[in-house]
């Protein structure tokens, strides 16, 4: 089983995000960057399948040079090879352009499965996985919380949550699966793994290497344009419901929900 994992580097959830003076982007100076947690589920799942069936895991990242750190982390967890798509012209690209670049980098690789996170926790678009599958012409199964490969390694069965129920989907291979929380508990990189990661191959590819035209990428080529970023509204103070008895409190709560919050 050869498996590809697509990963994105995102700001750590604990980072204080500040909007840049242009009002359309964020200040990146003091950000701590991490592997997108949903992609990490993908890495873990790929490693488990590899441990069971053999084969190779290749991680593919896109972005500036710092993304190497996240690829190395995946290599330290046990992946075999890394590819970093990096090019100044990619700066500011939208999800579709990212999907195009990734597709160009993976289309000629030998793979049975592709994993990626169901979305990036930074932009929350959730577009790249499905777009890559579409561009490659392979099935896309989203929000996987359980993945099972058949013994003959020809099909995959994926559980996907829907409204409190579980949808069980079977697909032929190759396929692309986007990972949802609950799929697994990603392992920590081990010290021997970290030492080994340094010696594992990590290739860098520019748009030219991938045979792509730089003018189709970057901020100018965006189909989706960001007009403005605003911080979420400050949370207002909470309210404690007063009352002598539970009944009284419930009545007061119902009244507030109806009259003040206007949700009933």
């Amino acid at each position: 089983m050869n498996i590809i994992v697509l990963l994105k580097q995102v700001p750590d959830t604990e980072t204080q995000i500040k909007i840049a003076p242009d009002g359309k982007s964020i200040v990146t100076d003091d950000i701590k960057w991490i592997m997108n947690p949903y992609d990490e589920f993908g890495v873990e799942e790929a490693l488990r399948i590899k441990e069971k069936f053999g084969g190779e895991v290749t991680v593919v990242g896109l972005g500036p040079k710092r993304v190497t750190e996240s690829i190395r982390t995946a290599l330290a967890m046990g992946a075999d090879k890394g590819i970093l798509i990096t090019d100044d012209a990619l700066e500011g690209s939208d999800s579709l352009a990212v999907a195009k670049a990734i597709t160009a980098a993976v289309k000629d690789l030998d793979y049975d499965l592709i994993f990626t996170g169901q979305r990036g926790i930074d932009d929350d678009m959730g577009v790249v996985g499905a777009s890559v599958a579409e561009l490659l012409g392979i099935p896309n199964i989203s929000l996987g919380i359980k993945v099972e490969i058949s013994e003959d390694q020809k099909t995959v069965t994926v559980n996907r949550p829907v409204e409190g129920q579980t949808l069980v989907i079977e697909s032929s291979l190759p396929a692309l699966i986007t990972a949802q929380k609950g799929l697994n508990e990603p392992r920590y990189a081990s010290l021997p793994g970290i030492m080994k990661a340094k010696r594992k191959p990590l290739e860098e590819k520019s748009l030219a290497d991938l045979g792509l035209d730089a003018s189709e990428f970057g901020t100018e080529a965006r189909k989706v344009k960001i007009l403005e970023l605003t911080p979420p509204p400050e949370r207002a103070a909470g309210k404690i419901i007063e009352g002598e008895t539970p009944q009284e409190k419930a009545a007061e709560l119902a009244r507030l929900l109806h009259e003040e919050a206007k949700v009933l």
């Binding site: 604990e14 200040v27 982390t73 920590y188 990189a189 010290l191 990661a197």
Partner: protein, 600 residues
């Protein structure tokens, strides 16, 4: 609960900018390492600290180990953590490749320990003790012993301990009475009692390997009669089976803090079937054990600094959010209350904590660097760094332990009444931190060690080297704009330290008791001067970095460093004057005082 418990920025500042850990990769033992690897290791340690350890910090305190039918039951995290630390390679990280280690610099493992300790001190000691015990076998055990025990210990399946203390022998190890009787078969039969043995039994590991001090029958009195043994709870038979080795757990103690880890009372050889396997030569056990004890003393300092770090970040978070009172300059009572961090006295409390935490951590990493250099260098350089480490070990154990306690207390103070209540972690940090001046040699014993032994070893060579090191920083600071005043203050403090040291050493031949009566105060003095040196080193680097006109968070960081340095030199360093005055008196007040004077 507060999310942040350590500053990654500060750790990296100390490792890379102040102490140049990357420089170690020049030595062949460390040549496979580099910044990228170190970053990934720290990153993993931070994640493990956050995800695995910090979440159970309070839970392990509220659900301490239980003594059930002769065994000790611990929190399920212990087994998970031992496995993660084993499989992750953390337990054997410093060991050479041949033994399954990663030849990791001690500086990096020390930094990782700081992270683990700050996240959850109780949980972190289990793998830590195992590392220390395995290292002892690695250094002094036979090949057979190494093959038998080290892999299982490095993998976290077996727990290691250090079993020294007995009811009548705590500080005074020469008084241990646990006996070892030689047999025809080569092993010894052990009989005796041990108390306070950390992780001496628990169900989070499959076996417990005690590194135990005992006296071989007929051995000379005193420390020269002590030998070191491996005493497993279950002894491995040649066919690989494990059989009970007559190590009974008589009970556990209920303690003030650090409750997630048990301390056990062990009874050995009740059925005359407890086998011990001699490590190294007979009667040399204490000197071997000092390897583990010295490492453990640095770790205790690290634990103390780490708990103070977690307490500081909890206090800081609170101080930023708690509105109370108004600025003294504002006269209008209708204005909203200000967050308490705006009050100068609260800022002073926070600065004190930061001065202790970062100053202690710097000193501990300095010691780790000396340990690394001693390990990889040869000849005179090796001796130099070994002596510096020896000299500074009691200081690096005690300053963080004693001052960390005050630091946590100030953290608790920042929360007012809430600090005293268990909704906030401060009260637990306060209880947890109290162990550090006690275990691995009390503060009193560290004082005796510093003044009675370390300052005079090799004709005072270690002390001379220390003065040289500190004066190196003084000279650099004299040539740095803005730091010349600090350089002058530290030089003045060094001269006072030399004066006091010379005065005390003159008393030594006449009356050892008078000489050492105030050794603890001498240690306190030594600690303040040493940490001032560490602050000057940090200020040197921060000044240099500010020359490059950094922006944003970097500027705030370096400016914060310089302010804390100023705080240390203005508020803490002057405190040595009282100590010096007392130490120069030597009137024998405590020597001559009698028991009857205390009664009423």
């Amino acid at each position: 609960m507060a999310e942040k418990f350590v500053s990654e920025r500060n750790l990296k500042f100390l490792l890379y900018e102040v102490f140049d850990v990357e420089g170690l990769t020049r030595y062949s033992y460390y040549q496979d390492h580099g910044r990228e690897i170190f970053d990934m290791i720290l990153d993993t340690a931070l994640r493990m600290g956050k995800d695995l350890l910090h979440g159970t910090f309070q839970e392990m305190d509220r659900n301490p180990p239980q003594y059930v039918e002769g065994r000790v039951k611990v929190h399920p995290l212990v087994r998970t953590l031992m496995r993660e630390c084993g499989e992750g390679g953390w337990i054997g990280a410093n060991a050479p490749y041949e033994l399954g280690g990663q030849q990791l610099p001690i500086m990096i493992s020390a930094a990782s320990r700081f992270i683990f300790f700050a996240a959850n001190y109780s949980a972190s000691v289990y793998p830590l003790l195992t590392s220390g015990a395995a290292h002892l076998i690695e250094s002094f055990g036979t090949e057979e012993m190494k093959a038998l025990y080290i892999p299982k210990m490095f993998s976290g399946q077996w727990q290691g301990t250090m079993a020294l203390t007995e009811p009548q022998a705590g500080s005074s190890l020469s008084d241990i009475t646990t006996k070892a009787v030689p047999t025809q078969e080569g092993y010894y039969k052990i009989r005796g009692q041990k108390i306070f043995i950390s992780a001496g039994d628990h169900d989070g590991a499959d076996n417990i390997i005690h590194l135990m001090l005992a006296k071989i029958e007929g051995a000379p009195h005193g420390v020269k009669g002590i030998s070191l043994f491996v005493v497993p709870r279950l002894r491995p038979e040649p066919d690989g089976t494990l059989v009970p080795n007559d190590v009974q757990v008589a009970g556990i103690y209920h303690k003030l803090g650090y409750r997630g880890a048990p301390i056990t009372q062990l009874s050995l050889g009740e059925n005359d079937d407890c086998r011990g396997y001699l490590v190294g030569e007979p009667h040399k056990g204490l000197s071997y054990m000092f390897q583990m004890m010295n490492e453990a003393r640095i770790d205790v300092g690290m634990g103390a600094a780490a708990i103070a770090s977690a307490a500081y970040y909890a206090a800081l978070e609170y101080a930023r959010e708690r509105p109370q009172g108004r600025r003294l300059r504002s006269k209008d009572p209708s204005l909203p209350q200000v967050p308490i961090i705006e009050h100068p006295d609260v800022k002073r409390m926070l600065l004190f904590q930061r001065a202790v935490v970062d100053g202690s951590l710097a000193l501990l990493l300095q010691c780790a660097k000396y340990a690394d250099l001693e390990k990889v260098q040869e000849g005179e350089e090796k001796e130099r760094h070994g002596l510096l480490l020896d000299l500074l070990t009691p200081v690096a154990k005690t300053y963080p332990s004693e001052m960390g306690l005050l630091s946590v207390s100030q953290g608790l103070q920042c929360l007012g009444g809430y600090g005293y209540c268990d909704e906030f972690p401060l009260e637990q940090h306060y209880r947890d931190a109290r162990i550090h001046p006690i275990h691995e040699g009390t503060t009193g014993i560290q004082g005796l060690d510093l003044l009675g032994r370390k300052v005079v070893i090799k004709g005072g060579k270690a002390f001379k080297l220390y003065l040289e090191e500190v004066r190196g920083a003084v000279a650099r600071a004299e040539a740095t704009r803005g730091l010349d005043a600090g350089a002058g203050l530290l030089e003045g403090a060094l001269q006072r330290l030399e004066e006091v040291t010379a005065h005390l050493l003159e008393l030594a031949p006449g009356d050892p008791e008078l000489f050492l009566a105030d050794a603890t105060l001498y240690l306190e003095l030594f600690g303040v001067v040493t940490v001032a040196w560490q602050w000057l080193l940090q200020a040197l680097r921060a000044s240099e970095a500010l020359e490059a006109d950094p922006s944003g968070g970097d500027r705030d960081f370096y400016e914060g460093k310089l302010r804390t340095y100023q705080y240390f030199f203005s508020y803490e360093l002057p405190k040595i004057e009282g100590l010096c005055r007392r130490l120069l008196q030597s009137d024998g007040l405590t020597v001559n005082l009698e028991d009857r004077h205390f009664t009423d």
